[in-house]
């Protein structure tokens, strides 16, 4: 465990001395801020319009739950934005170690491959958390100023969902990073893989055939929707856990095979 911690510490240190970390953090903050502002404006306008209409025509008061809608849509946007951001977090994990020859240091030190992989996985996950941290501010605004008070549950489940989705994507990204020595190649392939997941999700939503049903069940993006609505489904937890396990398992095998291939 202390080895995992040492590796994790090194990874985090490495993130925060490289410019990439700050670029990713800044870009993510700008994009998420922009979308939060837009979503908020749209729904406030819509609800004002609806209440004006009801006043004019004397209908029942509008039943638009602005905070819930804002938070649900905001989580939806975040889940898409991280598809673009996470490749940049995972691209260097193994590719860079291979390129600079430090893989030899790790593999000739008394640490197991599993410890190395876990150290990197949790470091990326922690970095992802740090990236999400500022968006909590937006949620606090909603919590403070919404009336009726917004429920805390969906926010919690939304972040849990993001974390699981992020974990699954990171595991896949780390695996892809073991396949090359080139960070750019790793980032491109990872991004391509994420896009494929996205396309699978889109095609799963577009119809109701058997295949599409199966796809929608397997699509990790689809499962995120439940979380953003405040629903924590066991099957979603299982899907994410399996996906993370699969990604880390492939990473493990890839690292093992590195020894035999060289």
């Amino acid at each position: 465990m202390k080895y995992v911690f040492a590796l994790l510490e090194k990874e985090l240190r490495y993130y925060f001395v490289s410019p990439i970390a700050y670029v990713v953090l800044t870009v993510f903050l700008i994009i998420s801020g922009y979308f939060f502002y837009n979503i908020l404006t749209i729904f406030i306008e819509r609800s004002m319009f609806a209440s004006l209409q009801s006043q004019q025509f004397g209908g029942p008061p509008p039943s638009i739950d602005v905070p819930a809608l804002v938070s649900r849509n905001f989580f939806g946007v975040l889940s898409t934005v991280i598809l673009f951001m996470l490749p940049m977090i995972t691209m260097a994990t193994f590719a860079d170690e291979k390129r600079r020859g430090t893989m030899e240091l790790l593999m000739t030190s008394p640490v197991t491959n599993l410890q190395v992989i876990l150290g990197k996985f949790f470091a990326s996950l922690i970095f992802f958390l740090v990236m999400l941290l500022p968006t909590l501010l937006y949620q606090i605004f909603i919590l403070l100023y919404s009336s009726p008070r917004m429920a805390f549950g969906p926010i919690f489940s939304g972040y849990l969902g993001l974390l699981l989705l992020g974990g699954a994507l990171i595991a896949l990204g780390i695996f892809i990073s073991t396949l090359t020595e080139n960070q750019i190649v790793a980032a491109s392939v990872t991004f391509g893989a994420f896009l494929i997941l996205w396309v699978i999700d889109l095609s799963a939503r577009s119809g109701g055939t058997r295949l599409q049903e199966v796809l929608s069940y397997l699509s990790i993006l689809n499962h995120f929707e439940d979380f953003s609505k405040g629903v924590i489904d066991t099957s979603s937890l299982v899907i994410y856990a399996s996906f993370i396990f699969l990604g880390l398992f492939l990473t493990f095998r890839s690292i093992e095979s590195l020894r035999w291939r060289q």
């Binding site: 202390k2 080895y3 090194k10 600079r100 430090t102 893989m103 030899e104 030190s109 640490v111």
Partner: protein, 317 residues
Amino acid sequence: MIEVDHLTKRFGSVKAIENVTFQVEKGEILGFLGPNGAGKTTTMRILTCFLPATEGTARVAGFDVFDAPMEVKRRIGYLPENPPVYNELTVDSYLDFVAKIKGVDPKERKKRIEEVKNRVSIKEYSGTLIKNLSKGYKQRVGLAQALIHDPQVLILDEPTVGLDPNQIIEVRQLIKGLSGNHTIILSTHILPEVSMTCQRVVIISKGKIAAVDTPENLTRQLQGAERVYLEVKGPEAMVKTRIKEIEGVLRVDSNKLDGDEAFSFSVETELKKDIRSRIAKKVVENGYDLLELRTLSMSLEEVFLQLTTKEEEVRGQ
């Protein structure tokens, strides 16, 4: 300390090393000599558990590299050809990280880091980012990294490559100073390095061991004969026949020297027979002027060339 037994490593159909067998005693510095691509790095990578061998076994401090890799890794300090450093870390934070993954006792860690920094003289660069260090200092950081857990065995892959002459001398002295406490294997394709730092040499060529011995013995053994060089003033043919009369002389070659009737002679003699005084006596007795007389010992460089060319001839046939 290190036992390598009939080690073979294949990459696909290519044999990188074949039937490599040698031992290293405790506290010894063993030189691993061979041209690029001879299999030096492959052998070292097998010893450090980085690569698995196709056949054969290797044991470090009694532990098999395949069966007990963790035990072996704990006892080995390894400096690959390119020092495995993280450019964006400072020397201190890098050594701290390496100390942690090498399992150095947390209470000892600070002290160990200071010790190795002193040892390789990089103390004044403690807070410097590694990317700002020169190649020579990066190499020292690499060496510090290999020493941090006070390993019984040090494996250094071309530790002086790419350094300037002063740095090379310093690193060699450093390595020499480490013997005794550590068993060291050092690979190089620079010949003087071996004779300067190593007690024993393994010469490897095209994946096979060509010779294992001390640098001195190796030179002698491979010569098969010793040579004496002399310059004499006198008739060339006469001097030649006189020298050939001496017991133990195998061959005499002569060359005309510039200036008055002096000639140089290269006399090949039987092994371990010093006949310099007899040659001198003979020359003087016959009334010729002896201008110079000395033994010619073959440099390791020549031996090495001989080894590899031999190999070449075998292949060519």
